[in-house]
Amino acid sequence: MVSSPADRPTATELIEAVREYLERDVMPLEGRTGFHARVARNALGMIQRELDLGPGLEAECRDRLAELLGDSRKDLSLRELEGELVTAIRAGDFDERLSEVAECVRKAVDAKLAISNPEYFVE
């Protein structure tokens, strides 16, 4: 639940209402309109999962990456840390620790996928 001064419907209830409208009235339409309604419905699922999981997953990813990159990086944002990691991988700084890097990157990708499309996970 997002904290907010707004009246009901809550963000979740609004998403639900829009989703019902798309599924009932728009998705059955032929062609691009129906197809885009399906895309829009899927986007609502992403927003809902992001509201539920986003803050927790972001903190976990950030902490893991800060640990990998070293203590001096502990105040950087997740985006900044990922930028540093890209630079370091390209420079070959992690060539001796690639499986460790890959492990960290896998967890970060899993976090994004859990929000955007959890059905895509294998196993």
């Binding site: 691009r32 990922e82 890959a102 996928l113 499309n117």
Partner: protein, 334 residues
């Protein structure tokens, strides 16, 4: 060239037929087709008389704006003609349009009836007999494409370096330009750079040969679409791309487009005159294709975010990028 309303397109098409063929047909059933989020494909019918030699069902391909990573429309039209002559199943070009037609870079081609929506091709009973044939058909078609003489097609000639080098460089630049770091793709590019197989030969590569760009009937593949990513490169690139997990549309155990197996593809390719291909050598190009599709999704999402083409479809492609990151991380050896 900007977006045009259906009425404007109808009027300009009528005028274009008048200019190129000397008659003004009635344009009917004009509708925009799903697919090709940034470039426009319109289907329409004309009341062509038998003397004109024109088919009644036609397709207009046009660009509302500039798209990176894709060919000019005129080069695409030339490629389609060359493929047609080589016996590749493709629509025949009816007319290349020019600036005076007012439709932007565009051409008109015959409309081939059939299904392109992958989920229907993979699941509908109508295509149950087509599916087991399609992997071998792809092999045969790819052998024909890779045998086309690519010298006079107007495609940029590759330099002396391995053809993958230029693309790796291009993808790095694109990735850096958007300011959204993707460590998974950086690992993928590092692997590609360090593991590239020796280049056996150069060939015309379709560049987007996959489920979704094939017109399929109950009898199998009827046409190969979307030549706009064609280039000169390693023919195995088309094999890897066809096997990228996104194009399996949920049928993950069928590694070729969700409909078939790599062994059938390679066997048919060889039988049709193509080089011998080992399934292992396709893996490198599957990783390459997965990174490439991830980069294209980012480009597409930013086409929306930068305001060039606002679209919920393009926007959500940005959220599909992590699917390709996930697949790359599954394919890498580390």
């Amino acid at each position: 060239m900007s977006r045009l309303s259906p009425e404007e397109i109808t009027a300009r098409l009528e005028a274009a037929f008048d200019r190129h063929f000397g008659f003004k047909p009635t344009i009917a059933n004009l509708r925009r087709l799903t697919g090709g989020a940034s470039r426009e494909t319109w289907s329409f019918d004309i009341d062509a008389d038998a003397d004109s030699g024109l088919p009644g069902g036609l397709i207009l391909r046009r660009d509302p704006g500039k798209t990176p990573l894709a060919l000019e429309r005129s080069t695409e039209a030339g490629l389609l003609s060359a493929a047609y002559d080589a016996g590749v199943p493709v629509p025949q070009i009816v007319c290349k349009l020019d600036d005076d037609d007012g439709l932007g870079p565009a051409f008109i081609m015959e409309r081939i009836e059939g299904e392109t929506i992958p989920r229907k091709i993979l699941r509908d009973a109508e295509y149950a007999e087509a599916r087991p044939k399609m992997s071998a058909q792809c092999g045969e078609i790819l052998a024909k494409i890779h045998a086309i003489n690519f010298e006079d097609l107007g495609l940029p000639a590759p330099g002396d370096a391995h053809p993958v080098d230029d693309q790796i460089k291009q993808y790095r630049q694109l990735l850096d330009g958007f300011g959204e770091p993707h460590p998974a793709f950086e690992l993928g590019l590092k692997y590609l750079e360090e593991s590239k197989p020796p280049l056996a030969r150069l060939a015309l590569v379709h560049g987007d040969f996959r489920n979704g760009n094939l017109i399929v009937g109950p009898d199998g593949i009827r046409s190969v679409l979307d030549w706009e990513l064609a280039h000169i490169g390693d023919p195995l690139e088309d094999f890897g791309w066809l096997c990228v997990r996104s194009w399996r549309f949920g049928e993950d155990s069928n590694e070729v487009g969700g409909f078939g197996h790599l062994e059938d593809l390679c066997e048919a390719y060889e039988a049709a005159g193509g080089d011998s291909v080992s399934p292992e050598s396709v893996r490198f190009w599957e990783i390459f294709g997965t990174v490439k599709w991830g980069v294209i999704c980012i480009v597409q999402a930013f086409t929306h975010l930068n305001g060039l083409t606002r679209s919920v479809e393009l926007a959500t492609l940005g959220r599909r990028v992590c699917e390709m990151e996930y697949d790359v991380m599954r394919l890498l050896p580390w």
